[in-house]
Amino acid sequence: MANRQTILVIEDEKTIGNYIETILLSNEYKVLRAMNGTTGLSLCTSHHPEVVLLDLGLPDIDGMEVLQRIRGFSGIPIIVISARSQEKEKVEALDSGADDYITKPFGAEELLARIRTALRHQLHVGKGQMQPPVYSRDGLVIDFERRLVTLGGNAIHLTQIEYKLVSLLAQNAGKVLTYDFILKDIWGPYADTDNQILRVNMANIRRKLEANPAEPHYIFTEIGVGYRMLE
């Protein structure tokens, strides 16, 4: 009980703040609340929370600026709270250092899952540990050391690029990766900014891994933002 993790909630809407606090408290997290960006920033420096939940629409400072300022001094996981229709805003937040986003309205399960993912990734980075050498979920096994992918025991033949894509997503399982991030990571910083090539490759992967490409089980699309792999 001594080591309860602290979560800072920067959210100006009281109802949503209360709702998040209720969920977090009943799941044994410690909660700090800030109603605006200034308080949020100062709480973040003084209390060193483990995760920050940040609403982008704040009354005093633009949420994007709060995000950049926190990133200026810390690498703690930041989960952005955003409305569904603003894919541009989500992409911008992710590309300027947010770890993940959650779309309003969200359920308790979804919020807790995002926080767990963020904490786990933080753990790996913080202790300088390598990712576990194998990703294994529901019959799909990716062995990063032997560069081997099997599905239900059968080896799956992926091209070089396809393997890189799958392993990148698997190493960040549960986290959404933006098109831009994936393109830069796999095709290098001078890659064409057109994401068509990425989407064609994803389609090929889907045909190799998923039983029905229209009902994916392992890799999910977040249209306009990027891809997320089953955690």
């Binding site: 229709s85 911008e92 098109y179 900014t193 057109d194 989407r199 389609a203 249209i223 306009g224």
Partner: protein, 365 residues
């Protein structure tokens, strides 16, 4: 501005008269008949009245015409002489005819303008009525779930001590159901604003068909876990130009509609590649749609007269929004009744049309 119009009028008048005079000279050269020449000038006056604004050019032109005929084409040539036998009558008649025609044309032009304005006004009024109707339907559709939410919550707070666990969980479940319905409503309205902002066209960019379909189904499952949707997309990888967010909304609306109104839970969603388009089929195996509603189902009517008794879910707005979205994509949408159940079909064109040749990529890349 006024000077410009004046200049235009002057140039038009002079131009028409130069042409008329040339014609008249040629004609006179062959026939020596000054009456026919007068007719040419009457025609010229009419044209002047038609292509200039205001009465003045027409009246001036009619006097000019009379003067020209007198000066050039009647004896004594190159002299103004109104005293020749019989000629005064001709001249006066010509002046009156030209004057009258010029006034008549000007007047009819004005009337045309008024008619146009009236038509525009009527169209505006019609749009206003449509907007008012939509607003009324929306507030009705919003008020229904809200009443449920408020009522249930109040009842819960008032007697939470006396309620059984079952009753409590039923109440909370129905609150959550109504709230979800409200959310869908708001998302639908949001999609409409996405179209209205840029007129009737939408920003399309090529999107992988299967990704859009899968995300729509995923979101529906989150909201209605009881729905059994079977999905089938073409094996071939297809990029279809669309606004993904809007098409997703259409698919969700149609699926949700099928869940709520068919009375069954099994739904098929399959996509077929046709020659110039892709067609999306949403098929249920329920009670089907009343024949008299088939024609008007996309026009945003309420659910009055729906014998199935599920009137707590207005379906009018969702479907009329589907129609708006699909038409903005230059696709088509319609519904068929089968022996068992109904099938909604919508199509999206595969090729981007030339007017929108440059793809708009709204992801900010």
């Amino acid at each position: 501005m006024d000077k410009k119009i004046l200049l235009m009028n002057f140039l038009t008048t002079v131009g028409i008269f130069v042409i008329a005079t040339l014609l008249a000279v040629a004609f006179f050269h062959y026939s020596r008949n000054s009456t026919s020449v007068a007719i040419i000038y009457v025609l010229a006056v009419m044209l002047v009245a038609r292509y200039t604004s205001g009465y003045v050019p027409g009246v001036v032109a009619s006097f000019l015409g009379v003067a020209c005929v007198n000066y050039v084409f009647t004896y004594p040539f190159m002299h103004l002489n109104f005293s020749i036998d019989g000629y005064p009558v001709t001249f006066v008649a010509m002046a009156v005819i030209s004057g009258l025609t010029s006034m008549l044309t000007t007047q009819s032009k004005k009337q045309n303008q008024i008619l146009n304005e009236q038509e525009k006004f009527l169209m505006e009024a019609e749009k206003e009525t449509m907007r008012a109707n939509l607003l009324r339907a929306v507030s009705h559709d919003l008020r229904t779930p809200l009443t449920g939410i408020i009522g249930m919550a109040d009842a819960y707070l008032a007697d939470s001590g006396r309620l059984t666990e079952d009753e409590k969980s039923y109440m909370v479940r129905s609150i959550s159901e109504d709230a979800n319905w409200l959310l869908n409503m708001v998302e639908n309205l949001l999609s409409v604003t996405r179209i209205r902002v840029g007129g009737t066209r939408v920003n399309t960019s090529p999107e992988p068909l299967e990704e859009v379909v899968s995300e729509a189904v995923q979101r529906l499952r989150k909201r209605l876990p009881q729905a059994k949707v079977q999905v089938q997309v073409p094996e071939e990888f297809l990029m279809v130009p669309m606004d993904a967010m809007l098409i997703e909304q259409v698919i969700i609306n149609l699926l949700e509609n099928a869940v709520y109104h068919s009375g069954t839970e099994k739904i098929d969603l399959y996509v077929v590649r046709e020659e110039e388009c892709v067609s999306f089929h949403i098929r249920d195996y329920g009670r089907g749609i009343a024949p008299e509603r088939l024609e008007v189902i996309f026009d945003g009517g309420g659910t009055e007269g729906n014998e199935s008794g599920d009137s707590h879910r207005g379906m009018g707005i969702g479907l009329s929004i589907c129609k708006t979205i699909i038409h903005a994509h230059e696709g088509s949408i319609h519904v068929n009744n089968w022996e068992q159940g109904a099938e909604f079909i919508f199509t999206l064109p595969l090729r981007e049309d030339k007017g929108n040749g440059k793809q708009t990529n709204h992801f900010g890349y």
